[in-house]
């Protein structure tokens, strides 16, 4: 018998080494998240998955599960916090959904929908972030980057290429690519790389593809992210959702 902790009143079993998020998703409980991805080492930067654990707040994706914890997630205080964090991300970058290829399949957008975010609220920063269209097959639109480092982790941990990294600090932190020119065409990225398929927003895009799925049939047109994210999490009892089956990861849907 494995140990359990309490999540919003439900008993959640966990294996040693699992974090609160991992155990929750495995048990069929959704905790909103952005930078967490079941296939990569959690790092806890977006803070959207913040929960109350025994009265203190912590990022659930990095917090080791322990027997007897009392975790509160689906409470107005945490959802209000998540709303503000999502608003901050919208105000920080240039997120012009109507012209974005990822619209309808975007995790940030879907989270905004689920949390009933109607406005960024804050003053928009409108940063100047030029595109990198140098590569023949791949476009980088940094305007939409939320600095979740999923591409950094995918390129390093899965592709073994380290095409992406972060530079700068604070509000000037930004995504860079692995070449002396600073251009994507001079890296060894390929369309088949895992890093091509993990961007939760619309930064890393294959060229000459866009709006391939009609409005109404896109991923989050059908069901809210809270319903879909569970399908993607590796489950303990039934594990038909192998993380390697194309298109089933929470972030790469919709992009061919």
């Amino acid at each position: 018998m494995s140990d359990t902790f309490q999540l919003d009143g439900a008993s959640v079993p966990f294996e040693p080494g699992q974090t609160v998020m991992q155990a929750a998703l495995a048990g069929g409980h959704y905790i909103p998240h952005l930078c967490y991805h079941p296939e990569f080492k959690p790092h806890g930067s977006c803070k959207v998955c913040t929960v109350k654990i025994n009265g203190r707040t912590a990022a659930s994706c990095t917090m080791p599960a322990e027997a007897g914890l009392n975790v509160e997630s689906n409470i107005e205080e945490m959802n209000g916090l998540r709303r503000t964090l999502v608003q901050m991300l919208f105000a920080e970058g240039n997120h012009f959904c109507p012209s974005c290829e990822k619209s309808g399949n975007c995790t940030l957008q879907a989270l905004g929908y689920d949390l009933e975010v109607h406005t960024a609220g804050f003053r928009h920063l409108y940063p100047d972030r030029p595109l990198d269209a140098s590569h023949p097959d791949i476009l980088l639109d940094f305007n939409r980057c939320i600095l979740c480092e999923l591409c950094v982790r995918a390129s390093s941990e899965v592709d073994g290429k380290n095409v992406f990294a972060l530079s700068g600090r604070g509000i000037t932190k930004h995504l860079i690519v692995n070449s002396e020119t600073g251009l994507l065409k001079d890296t060894d990225i390929a369309l088949t790389d895992k890093a091509m398929h993990v961007c939760p927003v619309g930064v890393i895009l294959p060229k000459r593809v866009g709006f391939s799925v009609p409005i109404g049939a896109r991923r989050y047109d059908q069901r809210p992210i809270s319903a879909q994210a569970l399908d993607d999490a590796p489950r303990q009892a039934d594990a038909p959702h192998s993380p390697d089956t194309g298109g089933s990861c929470p972030a790469c849907e919709g992009t061919p």
Binding site: R123, L147, S156, G170
Partner: protein, 599 residues
């Protein structure tokens, strides 16, 4: 360095000196920066090839630290310390003058590539400011005359070695000493006493002494050492945190200058206590001038068998200390960020747990302590736990160094037993008409006159040592705004709430400063505080709103006098937003202007 060949010769020697160790990446970047004045793209590429680290990751490290430049930034790089105490001593006017003299704008490089002028976070010279760094070298006690002379020296392209030595003089300014600063033990004496106790005995003694960390958090030192000693690991490490970045703090600077042996003695006995072979002193880049003297002291200690193999004849007691320098990143004062930086990475705080005592440097057990903590531990061993405990208060044993700056005639270092009241410190430093004191820096607490009876110590006012005094001529709103800018500049950017929240907070404070603030903005600050408090990755984000909340609590009129009576004002200057269009069209009619009061 003109040719690729020259560059490679330099970098090969650099790599060899650091044993091609990727963990020394930041040190190599610092040395490249010092040698070249910036870090050119081919240097990054070559280091990447030789170290087997992805180039982008190296660029990411270089891009993190504010003293490293990935673009040419002038042969002379002038940085004015921008702490509020420097400002109170006139640093802004001095910087403006210097910019005029050298015909350039702050943050820009002169067209001939000779010089750039900018600001930097507190350089730890608050007792002798205004201060600046030129090519990483500290210059103190700036006056109009001195700044003008510096301008001439730069224009004449005089190498720093030829500048008057007086410019670089850094005084200790010890105003009140106690057992720590008065310590005159001969190097090795305390170490021998510690060796007589043995590792476990040292841990017990330090535990019994009641010593708590002097960096601000106040974790019991003996408990930390015991956890590190008991943690499983192939190797253990001792790290001295000399990244004294909290604005208004400069006591570690003084300890490293006048009690360096005591620091190293403390580190060495800690190594014996926890079973470490490797020690690191992480010296903030602003104290670069201390590097050579400290290295000389380490060498002397090696020569005297106080470091190295079989220390002082005890078989198997092997320990040595290396010095790593920082490069302008306050966040590296956070212990896990410091460890990341020591490993040659971006200084981003780690997720905890696990804690450094079990998973620290290279994921091995590591004891990270403040400079003053190591000194105090050595002192506790020397005088005995009971005697150490007799100093100070029940929960705050020993003495504490206070860095006094701001509005007082005698700024400097004051050593007190814990439990001293704020008023006593104010009296000793000669402060009059004091309106407020910022205790423990921007991340600490701002207290007003009615609280001057409060006592420094873990029971009441915990402090890392900063003590900035503001008299009744000072505007506490501007003090808070300075601190808010500091946090925004120093946020590592890892987590959303701190990265974006500190920028939003800065915008709101600037809006209030510009006379466009409303009650709505004060509410906004309170909301931001909630978000930063509950979800920030580390203490920087959690404390970023403190300066505003504390000054709001005590000095609300300083804010309210600036507020418009309206409950909403535009986030930007409406009429100013038309200036570019006016300039382009040449219009200046009534329709070409906007009055925000229209509602």
């Amino acid at each position: 360095m003109t040719t690729t060949g020259d560059l490679h010769v330099f970098l090969d020697a650099l790599l060899a000196r650091h044993g091609n160790n990727p963990a020394s990446l930041l040190q190599m970047l610092c040395e490249t920066q010092e040698r070249q004045g910036w870090i050119a793209p081919p240097a990054l590429t070559y280091l990447a090839q030789r170290l087997g680290i992805p180039r982008a990751r190296i660029e990411g490290v270089a891009g993190f630290y504010s003293f490293l430049h990935l673009r040419p930034n002038g042969e002379y790089r002038v940085l004015f310390s921008d702490n509020i105490t420097d400002r109170m001593l006139g640093s802004q006017a001095l910087m403006e003058k210097m910019c005029q003299q050298l015909w350039l704008q702050p943050g820009k490089v002169s067209e001939d590539g000779l010089v750039s002028i900018n600001t930097t976070s507190c350089t730890g010279m608050c007792d002798q400011g205004p201060a600046m760094l030129v090519n990483g070298r500290a210059i103190t006690r700036l006056t109009h005359q001195r700044v003008q002379e510096i301008g001439h020296l730069i224009r004449n392209d005089t190498p720093l070695a030829g500048w008057p030595a007086d410019f670089f003089l850094v005084e200790d300014n010890i105003r009140r000493s106690g057992p720590l600063l008065d310590n005159t033990s001969a190097p090795g004496d305390i170490l021998r006493a510690a060796m007589a106790l043995g590792g476990k005995g040292i841990v017990e003694a330090v535990k019994h002494s009641g010593l708590r960390g002097r960096g601000g958090a106040g974790f019991p030192t003996g408990q930390k050492w015991e956890a590190c000693r008991n943690a499983p690991g192939a190797a253990r490490h001792v790290v001295c945190n000399a990244d004294e970045g909290e604005p208004g703090t400069f006591k570690d600077r003084v300890l490293l200058n006048c009690q360096a042996d005591l620091v190293f003695e403390g580190m060495t006995l800690c190594a014996l206590a926890v079973g470490a072979q490797h020690g690191y002193l992480y010296l903030r880049g602003e104290y670069r001038y201390l590097l050579e003297p400290l290295r000389a002291i380490l060498q002397r200690r090696r020569d005297n068998n106080m470091l190295g193999k079989n220390i002082l004849g005890q078989a198997g007691f092997d320990f040595d200390i290396a010095i790593h320098t920082g490069a302008g990143a306050y966040i590296c004062g956070e212990e896990s960020a410091l460890i990341e930086s020591l490993e040659g990475k971006r200084g981003v705080p780690r997720s905890r747990p696990p804690f450094p005592v079990t998973h620290g440097y290279m994921q091995q057990p590591t004891a990270v302590d403040n400079v003053e903590t190591f000194c105090s531990a050595a002192l506790a061993i020397q005088m005995g736990a009971e005697n150490f405990r007799a100093i100070g208060t029940a929960k705050s044993s020993g003495s504490k160094l206070i860095s006094v700056s701001g509005d007082c005639p005698r700024p400097g270092i004051y050593e007190y037993p814990f439990g001293v009241s704020v008023r006593e410190v104010l009296d000793d430093c000669g402060a009059v008409n004091t309106r407020a004191v910022q205790v423990s820096g921007p991340s600490g607490i701002c207290i007003a006159e009615n609280e001057f009876g409060r006592k420094l110590g873990f029971e009441d006012l915990p402090t890392a040592g900063a003590f900035m005094v503001f008299d009744d001529s000072r505007d506490l709103f501007e003090v808070a705004r300075n601190f808010v800018h500091f946090f925004a500049h120093e946020s590592c950017g890892f987590c959303t709430p701190c990265r974006v929240g500190t920028s939003m907070l800065k915008q709101t404070m600037d809006k209030i400063a510009a006379g466009h603030g409303t009650r709505h903005d004060l509410n906004e600050i309170e909301n931001l505080d909630k978000v930063l408090q509950t979800s920030s990755h580390c203490g920087l984000g959690r404390s970023a709103c403190n300066p505003v909340l504390h000054t709001l609590k005590h000095f609300r009129p300083a804010y309210e006098n600036r507020l418009k009576s309206l409950d909403f004002e535009p986030a930007f200057d409406l009429d100013g937003a038309l200036a570019r269009a006016r300039q382009m069209t040449g219009r200046d009619d009534a329709g070409a202007h906007l009055k925000p009061e229209e509602t």
